[in-house]
């Protein structure tokens, strides 16, 4: 394997959408972040039954790894997130997607902890995914890439962590699909995870959630520019379909309450309804905007792969139908968090995890956070979330014998 750390591009203010799309295309094989390549001596076994080789994983790190290599925290990103958890995204020019949580002096304090965040397998910002070039054919993978799972994503991250010389992660942290990866980490590599923080996640993808993902995939595949997944070859991009997929998904990230208070039935730049199908309402305009900006930074096939990975996740099913079996004899310290108005991963899902952890005799904390902002709350300014993360990590650092924020040193 080889490691390359390329310099980040200069900050480009007001990157135009078309430039964004071309920057995004460049990032798929050669990301601006750090990159680890694994050759034929280190193939990646996939749940589907095949092996992926060669393959690569793009990642960012923040802070310093201590001498004993005991202070590493792996942050797992959600469905369409990326490795730029606490630094500017080279495609959008926006600050890190969780810079309120991760950074110097933040709850995941990069002055004390060494933070790693990798782009997921199947993603489109530098880790092997359908938009990458298939080294065998020298063409874009498209649908030739095997379907990947949460287990595969975690296996690829474990190889990265091993290659970085880290035996045990101090913590694995993540929300939504990131939370699924946290659970998978704790279950597949219990000895490598000292503490685990799954946020707004569940032990499986529910029927309702699969349904929403299917609507999104069908929207992508119904776009004539999708070309059966071969749009790269045809020089096209299924922007309409992907944008509709994002619009549908975006609704699931918000609560009825937050939609109502943000938009209500307010009209968009007009004083009366137009008796037509323009975006009369603010909510329509907002969703269209969300859809259009998404297609500039995300690959359509990649969207199919990552949504499928979530759909296939069912931790109990892979452990004899009993979720507690996934955590038997675990010595990991868990902190499970949910939000009151999250209907995509409601509190009941987190409670299933907690009950299973209790049944397995694991060390677990559980916090439900009052928020009106639905599933997206985990990415937003939620003081209780930050307070819990800081407190939990500090307690765990004490138990691990490493300096924690607020502990002096």
């Amino acid at each position: 394997m080889t490691e390359t750390a390329s310099a980040k591009p200069e900050k480009t203010p007001n990157i135009s959408p078309s430039t964004q799309a071309s920057v995004a295309a460049e990032q798929m094989d050669m990301p601006a972040s750090k990159l680890m390549r694994f050759g034929s001596d280190n193939p990646l076994r996939l749940d589907e039954g095949t092996e992926l080789t060669p393959w690569q994983i793009a990642y960012e790190t923040y802070g310093e790894l201590n001498e004993d290599k005991t202070n590493a925290i792996l942050v797992c990103h959600a469905l369409t997130g990326d490795q730029y958890v606490a630094s500017e995204n080279p495609v959008t020019g926006k600050p890190g997607w969780w810079s309120m949580m991760v950074g110097p002096g933040q709850p995941v304090d990069t002055d004390k902890y060494f933070v790693i965040c990798a782009n997921v397998l199947g993603g489109c910002l530098g880790t092997t995914g359908p938009a990458c070039t298939n080294p065998e054919t020298n063409e874009v993978y498209g649908l030739d890439l095997p379907v990947v799972t949460i287990g595969d994503m975690v296996r690829s991250q474990a190889k990265l962590v091993e290659a970085l010389g880290i035996e045990t992660l101090f913590a694995v942290v993540g929300g939504s699909m990131g939370g699924m990866q946290v659970l998978q980490w704790a279950s597949a590599y219990p000895e490598k995870v000292f503490a685990a923080v799954p946020i707004a996640a569940g032990p499986r993808h529910s029927s309702q959630n699969i349904a929403f993902h299917e609507v999104g995939r069908q929207a992508v595949m119904a776009d004539p520019d999708w070309c059966h997944g071969q749009y790269a070859k045809e020089g096209k991009r299924p922007m309409k379909g992907l944008s509709v997929a994002r619009m549908a998904a975006h609704i699931t990230y918000m609560s009825d309450e937050s939609l109502h208070s943000k938009f209500g039935r307010n009209l968009q730049d007009r004083s009366a309804i137009t008796f037509g199908f323009d975006a009369d309402f603010q909510i329509e305009s907002y969703l269209r905007h969300q859809g259009m900006t998404f297609v500039d930074r995300f690959d359509a096939n990649s969207y199919l792969y990552v949504t499928r990975a979530m759909d296939y996740f069912d931790l109990a099913a892979t452990h004899g139908g009993k979720l507690a079996n996934a955590f038997l004899h675990s010595t990991t310290r868990f902190c499970v968090m949910s939000f009151t108005t999250d209907w995509l991963f409601p509190t009941s899902e987190s409670k299933d995890i907690v009950r299973a952890l209790n049944a397995a005799g694991a060390n677990v904390s559980f916090v439900e956070i009052e928020s009106s902002r639905g599933h997206d709350a985990f990415l937003l300014d939620e003081p209780e979330l930050f307070k819990t993360m800081r407190g939990f990590l500090t307690g765990a650092a004490k138990a691990r014998g490493i300096p924690a924020p607020g502990n002096g040193d």
Partner: protein, 207 residues
């Protein structure tokens, strides 16, 4: 260990600490914001876990680095395996449960030993209030009116001894505390404690 000056600690908590062996695995049911749990960790070096119905209390405890989950003693104890803990502690919580007998049975299942503390409704002041005022007793540590109290299943020390019998528990140790939270330092028959004990702490195990 320096953090807690035991002389400032609540009387029942002090006795609870005495009942718990150092370094043991402890589940504190109804742990509130984790005051007792922190005390047990600091003074007895226990591997402590907590459990409470109030999400607010739980969030506060977790933010302080304690391992605490939100749950309800009547429904969520069933998830724990047999003998999961050396001690299952129920501090001033029994009287607030829907089904105290079933909760006590669960505790005896998941804890090798069980510590229960509770206010003694049979204390003479309570009896006097009911006798002379004809109203449900309201005292310093039972400050609620009958209609807003979370304490729905009060019992007396003798009631608790009878319940222990019924769930096949053996009383290993018991202490009664006076109104100042001090140990009543003499041995007396249950009926005496039942009259002068403000609260009681029991250590039980399965027969």
């Amino acid at each position: 260990m320096k953090k807690h000056d035991l002389s400032n600690v609540r009387g029942d908590h002090r006795i609870l600490c005495d009942f718990v062996a150092s370094g043991s695995r402890v589940l504190d049911i109804g742990c509130g914001t984790g005051e007792l749990l922190e005390l047990l960790i600091d003074t007895r070096g226990v591997d402590g876990r907590g459990f409470d119905t109030s999400q607010k209390g739980v969030n506060e405890a977790v933010a302080r680095g304690l391992s605490v989950v939100q749950g309800d003693a009547d429904n969520d104890l069933a998830a724990y395996p047999d003998d999961a803990f050396d001690y299952a502690i129920l501090s001033h919580t029994l009287q607030a449960t829907m089904d105290p007998k079933q909760v006590l049975e669960q505790l005896l299942r998941i804890g090798k030993k069980v510590v229960v503390s509770f206010p003694n409704f049979g204390h003479w002041r309570n009896r006097m209030q009911l006798l002379f005022n004809g109203r449900m007793p309201v005292t310093d540590y039972l400050p609620y009116e009958w209609y807003d109290t979370p304490n729905i299943h009060f019992c007396t020390i003798r009631d608790f001894v009878a319940l222990s019998e019924e769930v096949h528990a053996k009383v290993i140790k018991a202490e009664a505390l006076d109104a100042r939270g001090q140990r009543i330092g003499f041995n007396a028959p249950w009926w005496v404690w039942n009259l002068i004990g403000d609260q009681a702490v029991f250590l039980l195990e399965r027969k």
